[in-house]
């Protein structure tokens, strides 16, 4: 029996001939990441040679920055991975994340303790997820529509709370919180910023949760065939609420990261468009919007691929507008490759 890695959840692992395909599906996105890194390193080296400058891309500092950048989208994408595996989607993740950051900022501004502010932010994340899950389960409306609505609701709530201007709580949050998202690790012996370590730990937890728990099995069952899940006695509405709520916790963590990036400011509009980056990370990582497929390793790779492209473009002086085009192409290519692979599998 093969147990590739704790991460490999894209396909059910099976012995013999299947082992290779499992490895490929789990490692595909990681190989993609290596490819993107290699491409930019080469391009940067070539450019440096032509312009008689020093190549700067292939360096520790770049690695640190990429991981830092990937960590915010990545942590929210961990939750999104669960949602997508369960056959759902969450368009409100970006707005919910900004709302969590705004709530945290509100508590800091009004001189509540650090614990209160942090927990309030995390609970806000959970609450947004709980609301999404409950609405989907109770109203029996598709997740796409429900979360499209709550996206605007969460944005509005954040603006009501902040009175339409970002809430500033400069100087009040403790250093450890702000250091979560510093480009360079503080303290230096951490090698990468503390937020990255946090995401790494959470990623391991989620991978374990998906593979080794009853909850995880049920999430996959729900996503691959809801009728079967019901037939097997799984409480589908409750499970869905649980999935969204747990995913909300990760959105809360992303909110804290957002707060740290703005060095102590809570801006309810800061999450606009982030949900698409989060979903893109999952999809590039092999998650299927039909549900039942997705992996933590893939999602993390997907987040890193996007951060790498961003950094590579900055290094190569490629304008933001071009970056967008490149990321878009990557999404289409990644999903196409994945589908071709699956078609071949199901034949």
């Amino acid at each position: 029996m093969n147990e590739t890695t704790e991460f490999s959840q894209t396909m059910p692992a099976h012995g013999g001939r299947g082992a290779a395909s499992v490895l490929r599906s789990a490692l595909g996105p990681s190989l993609g990441l290596l490819l993107v890194l290699a491409l930019f390193s080469i391009a940067d080296a070539v450019r440096a040679r032509i312009k008689h400058k020093e190549a700067t891309f292939a360096s520790v500092a770049t690695g640190q920055k990429i991981l830092r950048d990937a960590s915010q989208v990545g942590v929210a994408a961990l939750g999104m991975t669960m949602i997508i595996i369960a056959g759902g989607i969450d368009l409100s993740a970006g707005a919910a994340m900004a709302l969590a950051a705004t709530v945290t900022a509100w508590f800091f501004r009004d001189d509540y303790s650090t614990a209160t502010a942090v927990i309030a932010g995390l609970l806000t994340g959970c609450a947004t997820g709980f609301v999404n899950g409950s609405l989907i389960s109770l109203l029996r409306v598709v997740p796409f529509i429900i979360t499209l609505g709550t996206m605007t609701i969460f944005l509005g709530l954040g603006m009501i709370l902040s009175g339409d201007t970002p809430i500033r709580a400069f100087g009040k949050p403790p250093d450890w919180l702000l250091n979560l998202q510093t480009p360079y690790p503080v303290p230096e012996w951490l090698a990468v910023s503390s937020g990255v370590w946090l995401v790494a730990v959470l990623a391991l937890l989620v991978a374990g949760l998906l593979k080794y728990t009853v909850f995880g099995r049920h999430v996959f069952a729900l996503g691959s065939n809801e009728s079967t899940a019901r037939l097997c006695g799984i409480n589908v509405p409750l499970l869905r609420i649980a999935v969204y709520t747990v995913a909300g916790l990760f959105v809360g963590v992303a909110g804290l990261f957002q707060f740290a990036i703005l060095s102590g400011e809570g801006d309810p509009k800061a999450g606009l468009g982030k949900e698409l980056e989060i979903i893109a990370a999952v999809v590039i990582g092999g998650g299927s919007l039909n549900g039942g497929r997705g992996s933590v390793l893939g999602t993390i790779s997907g987040a890193c691929i996007m951060a790498t492209i961003l950094h590579g473009c900055v290094t190569l002086d490629i304008r933001t507008s071009y970056q967008k085009v490149i990321v878009g192409i990557i999404i289409v290519v990644a999903v196409t490759i994945d589908q071709i692979r699956q078609r071949r599998l199901s034949r």
Binding site: M1, M11, P12, A13, H14, G15, G16, R17, G18, K211, Y212, T213, V214, F215, G216, R217, H218, F220, A221, S224, N225, S227, T228, A229, R230, L231, C232, G233, I234, N235, G292, R293, S346
Partner: protein, 500 residues
């Protein structure tokens, strides 16, 4: 018969990787002949038909149609040569009319404008040839019954001037009177000189409609004979390659206490006011036509559909209406819809078997996957599920093996009451016999089995009692030996004349 046969397939071979799907298959079909192609699942029938219809190329071997070499590159080419396939799953556009469906892809038109005046006679002629000119060309297809939809599909083949039609398990989703109608149509096709290949698991049907049969086993054609020259057990022996002692193995079992009591059970539409009881160690069959409410009855008992009035009592307890409660009270349900509901196709066998009972392998919610796989493997051995490992996705298995996985789930769950909805549909004779045996074993262990089927012969042979349902109501329950197929059918249609 001195003329060249309509179709001649010679020494067809096809490999998929290491497996030989077809290993030198040869047969002939004459014009105006209905030939049955039978064999167990995996014997190579569908591969052979895919080659005939141009969806696959043979590795070696030749085909001839009316004496001329035939090597279609794709299904479209095959159709143009006059070879049409009617599949189990119909390929119709539900929102289009009968006429539009029949003419789809071959519309009569000029400059992109549809010329209905030109199409209409062709459509009418095709429907008339089928003996069903009463079908209105304007009716949207989704308003037709499955049987009538199938006619539309056949008519589509006819407007293209086919010489050969392949029917792949055409009756598995048809009610009895639709089957009769289909047979009438096939007889008409035969009269007009069209060759028909008829693939089916139902030997009674084959006997009723076919002139000759060819048996495939393990990718070889093991025999071909006129139907009047062979008896049932010869055919089965040819298919499975061994002597099947009996088609319907029974395991002796004795009746115990009453396990399930239904009291005036009604669902939202179906069933209506069903009262019955089932004892431990009993196999109760439920017969009826499609739409009689048999599936709905099982779904209500299991809590998948809501119960409007009446109650379900298991072992003295009134069951709460939800699948999880049903499982807790010891029920297990095998759905008739293996793909859509029964199995999570992309998940592994182990997952599918254990979803309804993960508790023995979990501690504080954390699973011991190795222990689970070990016990799933035990069930796979017991049910002889052919697969590489418990981790293989369910979708890679054959239909019969998938059905065994669904059965393994309720057995693994150790359910006391097995609710089996068409558990033998679309699977081969050998596997069917195994499933009957498993049902008998379950009864012998003191479990109760409710067995819904449209195949009356198996109900009569396997069950202790048979209940007949019509229009949502339970018409009558009798011991199985007091029924025969005619009396069941009579009871099932007694109040059902209203339907066309």
């Amino acid at each position: 018969m001195t003329t060249a046969p309509l179709l001649r397939m010679r020494e067809i071979c096809k490999r998929f990787g290491a497996t030989r799907a077809l290993d030198g298959v040869s047969f002939e079909l004459h014009a105006g002949e209905v030939m049955a192609l039978i064999g167990e699942n995996g014997a190579g029938k569908s591969t052979l038909m895919k080659i005939l219809s141009g969806a696959l190329d043979p590795d070696t071997g030749t085909m001839q149609i009316a004496g001329r070499p035939y090597a279609p590159g794709n299904p479209h080419e095959a159709r143009n040569t006059g070879v049409a396939m009617i599949y189990q799953e119909l390929n119709l556009a539900p929102d289009l009319s009968v006429e539009d469906n029949i003419m789809l892809g071959q519309e009569a038109g000029r400059f992109g404008l549809l010329r209905r005046s030109e199409q209409r006679p062709r459509v009418r002629k095709a429907l008339q040839l089928l003996g069903h000119s009463e079908l209105s060309p304007e009716t949207p297809v989704h308003r037709l019954s499955v049987g009538a939809q199938q006619l539309v599909e056949i008519a589509r083949a006819l407007v293209m001037d086919v010489c050969l039609i392949v029917f792949d398990e055409p009756t598995s989703s048809l009610a009895r009177h639709d089957v009769e109608r289909l047979f009438e149509v096939i007889r008409k096709l035969r009269q007009s000189g069209i060759g028909v290949i008829y693939i089916s698991h139902f030997l009674e049907e084959v006997r009723e409609i076919c002139d000759r049969l060819t048996v495939l086993r393990d990718g070889r054609s093991v025999g071909s004979s006129r139907l009047e020259d062979v008896c049932e057990s010869d055919i089965v022996a040819m298919m499975v390659g061994r002597n099947v002692e009996e088609l319907f193995p029974t395991v002796p079992h004795t009746l115990g206490d009453v396990l399930l009591v239904l009291n005036g059970l009604s669902g939202e539409k179906l069933p209506r006011d069903v009262t019955l009881d089932v004892r431990r160690g009993e196999i109760l069959g439920i017969a009826g036509l499609v739409g009689a409410g048999r599936t709905e009855l099982l779904r209500c008992i299991f809590g998948l559909d809501s119960v409007v009035t009446g109650r379900v009592q298991v072992g003295g307890f009134v069951a709460r209406c939800s699948p999880s409660a049903a499982i807790a009270t010891g029920m297990g349900f095998v759905s008739e819809d293996r793909k859509g509901e029964g199995l999570a196709q992309i998940r592994s066998i182990a997952d599918n078997v254990s979803y309804s009972r993960l508790r023995p392998y979990s501690r504080f919610g954390i699973l011991n996957l190795r222990r689970r796989d070990e016990s799933v493997r035990v069930w796979m051995d017991r049910l002889q599920i052919k697969s590489r490992s418990p981790r293989q996705p369910a979708m890679e298995l054959s239909g019969g093996n998938q059905q065994k996985v669904a059965l393994a789930r309720v057995l693994h769950q150790d359910a006391d009451l097995l609710l089996l909805d068409e558990p033998t549909r679309g699977i081969d004779v050998g596997t069917k016999a195994e499933i009957y045996r498993l049902m008998g074993q379950a009864a012998a262990q003191g479990k109760a089995v409710i067995f819904v089927s449209s195949y009356f012969t198996e109900l009569l042979s396997v069950c202790d009692r048979v209940a007949v349902m019509a229009r949502g109501r339970l018409r009558e329950i009798r011991p199985a030996d007091e029924w025969n197929e005619q009396t069941i059918l009579h009871r099932a249609i007694s109040l059902d004349e209203a339907k066309p």
